[in-house]
């Protein structure tokens, strides 16, 4: 039980655990681990609240129905699992501005939220453009040895590393 209360486990152990978890998502649910499609479904559901059923006529929502599915429950589970883990180890944050951000860019909350919002838009847009995210391509697709996923995962990191260098090194 003490083990469950530790703040951090070895990344190798955590990774192996995620790999083994994927055996069971395939065996029991016939689903790969993935997350980003759920945000499209949520976006469609919200749009439906404002524009009604005609949202479902959109080409994208014909391919990705805006309704609750396995993956959306999976994403909800992530929130719960991370909450349980952080409560057990006393690691629940409550922070608005992450430490590395405030050291480099200061304590202006509006700036952090603005950049985070812009980042979120690019992230959601890019994930659906590429048809997958760090989970669907980066973990599930690479382990299936899919060419589409290896290209995506490498480009996630190329884009991420370049833009981080830009904002941390040049802007500073």
């Amino acid at each position: 039980m003490n083990w469950f209360m530790e703040v951090q486990w070895s990344p190798y152990l955590v990774g192996a655990g995620i790999g083994i978890l994927s055996w069971f998502t395939w065996l029991i649910s016939n689903e790969p681990i993935g997350c980003s499609t759920s945000f499209s479904r949520i976006a469609g559901m919200i749009e439906k609240l404002f524009r009604g059923a005609k949202v479902e006529e959109k080409l994208y929502y014909q391919e990705v129905n805006p309704k609750i599915d396995w993956q959306m429950m999976f994403v909800l589970g992530i929130v719960i699992g991370a909450l349980i883990s952080s409560l057990l180890s006393g690691d629940l944050s409550g922070q608005w501005i992450p430490s590395v951000w405030s050291i480099n860019f200061g304590n202006n909350l509006a700036l952090r939220l603005l950049v985070g919002f812009a980042g979120g838009i690019l992230l959601g847009f890019g994930a659906r453009w590429a048809d997958g995210c760090t989970s669907g391509h980066g973990i599930s697709g690479t382990m299936q040895l899919a060419v589409s996923s290896w290209i995506s995962a490498i480009c996630f990191f190329i884009g991420g590393i370049l833009v981080v260098q830009l904002i941390f090194k040049i802007v500073m």
């Binding site: 083994i20 959109k58 994403v75 838009i121 890019g126 048809d131 391509h137 382990m143």
Partner: protein
């Protein structure tokens, strides 16, 4: 209907385990993810590549036994390379990805719960609106289908799996030796 509900239950349960592991690994934290992109802390890469080794070996054994049928995603350069770079830029600005933001919310990071979450949903909705045009154009550029690496090299799956596993272990060895 009953099997449908059962499937949703399993999704929730698997998600709880995934979120628990992500948090224990530190991947639900902006600081850990940004330090990875700054190349000063390789926690995220270690988690991902360890998952690839364990997952790949298990999944291909299970497929060999006929227990599962894998579904590699179809792709194109226009879809995966350009989409991947846009995603990377967002990853750098936000410091979370679609899975780890859910974990970050559970971990109590309020920038994730507010700006980040709203941004991702908004961005996903924008793509849905832009989709018909993109589908006819850039998403088709350089189409290569649902091929896998062994199919590209025209070899047995294990001719890729075994050397790739060895290569990843060598990468781990050098990361540890460099103290990263």
């Amino acid at each position: 209907m009953k099997t449908g509900k059962m499937k949703l239950f399993w999704g929730l349960l698997f998600g709880i385990i995934f979120g628990f592991l992500l948090q224990k690994g530190g991947a639900t934290k902006y600081d850990v993810i940004i330090n990875q992109l700054l190349l000063i802390d390789y926690t995220v890469v270690k988690i991902m590549l360890s998952a690839v080794i364990a997952g790949m070996i298990g999944l291909y054994i299970m497929q060999g036994l006929g227990w599962i049928k894998l579904r590699p995603k179809t792709g194109s350069w226009g879809k995966n390379a350009i989409g991947g770079l846009i995603f990377g830029a967002g990853f750098a600005l936000l410091g979370y990805c679609p899975g780890t933001i859910a974990g970050a919310i559970g971990n109590g990071y309020l920038d994730a719960l507010t700006a980040g979450l709203v941004g991702i949903i908004f961005g996903s909705g924008l793509l849905a609106t832009a989709y018909p045009g993109l589908k006819k154009g850039v998403l088709k550029k350089g189409y290569f289908g649902n091929i896998t690496l062994p199919q590209v090299f025209k070899v047995n799956n294990w001719v890729v799996i075994i050397p790739l596993t060895a290569l990843i272990i060598v990468v781990f060895y050098f990361l540890e030796r460099a103290g990263l």
